[in-house]
Amino acid sequence: MKKNTNSLEIRELCVQVDGKEILRNLNLAIPEGEVHALLGLNGSGKTSLMMVIMGFARYKVTSGQIFFEGKDITGLDITERAKLGIGIAEQRPPTIQGVKLKHILYYIVDKKFQQSDEFALMVKAAAMEKFLDRDINEGLSGGEIKRAELLQLLAMQPKFSMMDEPDSGVDLESLKLVGNLINMIFSRDSCRRINKKAGLMITHNGSILNYIQADKAHVMLEGQIGCSGNPHVILDTINKCGYEACARCMRRVAR
């Protein structure tokens, strides 16, 4: 029988941004083929966690380790991590003048694929046909930025995908589209577990979880994973009792 290994594992991770400690002794494991949701208050450190997993230089690891498919990647740069199969759809990606969405997509996929129907279908699935010739994120609406980010992930087909609030500020109609895109990115429509990709999704209201089944949810509290468990149970608790309930629960555990 095949051993169930972790796609991503984080051990005792401490992270600083501009000299300020943002993540404290954080532990997290995401097994192969699983998609986890990450919840938590504004400013609790969710985005920082994703950025440090991707390797953005601003987020400095002061101690602890990050493993991808069993390999310690803490010292690798962004490119190396991307090439290993880690990808991100950012909450606030930069705008870049003169660099068009198609330039990035054409970098990611080869010439032959660019001309294929499959590629056209991808672009269509993200409803981004009209945006290929636009400068990256320049003047895009909130929802359009999400779709542009997800389209790039879809083209990259990472083994481990991170999405920072793909459902925030997305209208009901587009939510369906976004849900579909995310399912494509994780190959969730496949019946064979082995094809399924792993990942982490940040969400506030959990609305995206109506479109894609998360295997587990974690609650981030002040730079740590406070609580983990069934996504629907956790969302329910937060909806009823707020994050304060998680904090109380955590204090109990600490004692």
Binding site: A57, T79, A82, K100, H103, Q152
Partner: protein, 401 residues
């Protein structure tokens, strides 16, 4: 028609013109026909957009050192002659056009050019109503060390005609020094349209003084793309454009990829003299050491509209390198709508990282950002420009972090 802004903004001193380095006309030509051009030289020429073989062109002119290898039109309605031959053939050329858009006594460069026994360069005339679809190409090619090329070109587009002109200036790859001066006079008739793409790839110590004057009549359009892939030791140029007819327009895009040890000073004065005239001037400079001056002056003398925009990317200042941007506007008419902007910055690390997260190496990311900054689609120059940008990106990558 007088050079305008000598008095303006001399915050960084531009070196005096230097004519002492080279000798002139001492060389018996060792290559006297197209067929004799070596493959390596053909490659150099291709690098600045001029193709000796196998490309469809409406006309070709090649000056090697001080010898005209060919000047030949392949297209109806397009006349292409060595300027000396044209002066003999057409008396009106001397009377009406020669040294009329650029005065002979403008400065030392023009005086010397006017003083030479037989001028080198091309005469191009596109007949009334002729739309020349294939590009016409001209190359000024320095194949020996320390020579002087003094060029005089005249382009006349008669009314309703159209031409796309590619000019490549290049030194053979192992040549370092030389002097190239050029007088360029362009006359664009009513509703005529001239698109000029000029690519420079010089040896590191070459001195280059172009002196250009362009006159555009009603409804005419002049588009100039100037790209300096490999800058010389010194380039000083301040092309003058007069939009004299109603609705005449001009658009300049100047791209300079700098390098250590070079001084590049490129301006561009546009006189908007008729109602409905429009002009756009854009400078894009990438500095990796060396001195770079971006200028441009719009003078509104009628109800017109124009914008000048200078943008610099300072990747590496090297030893005392800099970018200086001075866009200028001046209105003499209440309905002149003129604007300018200028910015200098470096490559934003978060943009590099963003592209890296899509799998790009740092230098690939920097290349893409520079390409984007320069404006991504520059026709006919794909691979050469990419190669040069990749070189610069490599340097920039090492400079960081």
């Amino acid at each position: 028609m007088k050079s305008s802004n000598m008095e303006r903004n001399k915050s960084e001193k531009i070196p005096d013109m230097d004519f002492c380095r080279t000798e002139y006309g001492m060389y018996a030509p060792e290559v006297t026909s197209m067929a004799q051009i070596k493959q390596s030289d053909a490659d150099s020429l291709a690098g600045v957009g001029v193709h000796v073989r196998g490309h469809e062109r409406s006309g070709t002119m090649i000056l090697r050192n001080t010898y005209t290898l060919c000047a030949q039109s392949e297209s109806k309605g397009l006349e292409l002659l060595p300027i000396a031959a044209a002066l003999k053939k057409y008396e009106w050329l001397g009377d009406k056009y020669y040294f009329k858009a650029v005065p002979a006594e403008l400065d030392e460069a023009t005086k010397r050019c006017a003083g030479q026994k037989e001028p080198h360069g091309y005469f191009i005339r596109v007949q009334k109503g002729a739309r020349v679809t294939l590009p016409c190409q001209a190359a000024f090619y320095m194949a020996s060390e320390n020579i002087t090329q003094m060029v005089h070109n005249v382009v006349i587009l008669e009314d309703d005609s159209e031409l796309q002109l590619i000019t490549g200036c290049v030194t053979q790859h192992d040549i370092k020094s030389g002097l190239h001066t050029a007088v360029e006079e362009q006359y664009i008739g009513k509703n005529a349209r001239l698109t000029s793409t000029m690519v420079h790839g010089w040896g590191s110590d070459v001195v280059v003084y172009p002196r250009a004057g362009t006159i555009v009549e009603a409804g005419g359009r002049y588009e100039s793309n100037y790209i300096s892939l490999r800058p010389a030791g010194q380039i000083i140029s301040n092309p003058q454009t007069w939009l004299n007819g109603k609705g005449a327009s001009a658009k300049y895009l100047t791209i300079i990829l700098g390098s250590p040890g070079s001084t590049i000073d490129i301006g561009g004065d546009v006189y908007l003299n008729a109602d409905g005239a429009t002009a756009e001037l854009a400078h894009r400079g990438v500095c990796t050491g060396g001195k770079m001056h971006q200028k441009g002056m719009l003078i509104g003398n009628a109800s017109c509209k124009a914008h000048v925009d200078c943008a610099g990317m300072l990747l590496n200042e090297g030893k005392g390198g800099f970018i200086e941007s001075i866009p200028g506007i001046k209105a003499h008419h209440p309905d002149a709508r003129l604007s300018h902007e200028a910015s200098i910055g470096k490559i934003a690390p978060e943009q590099v990282e963003y592209l890296q997260s899509r799998g790009m190496e740092e230098r690939e990311a920097i290349s893409m950002l520079i390409r984007g900054f320069l404006g991504s689609d520059i026709e006919g120059l794909g691979t050469e420009l990419d190669a040069r940008i990749a070189e610069i990106a490599e340097l920039a990558g090492h400079g960081e972090g």
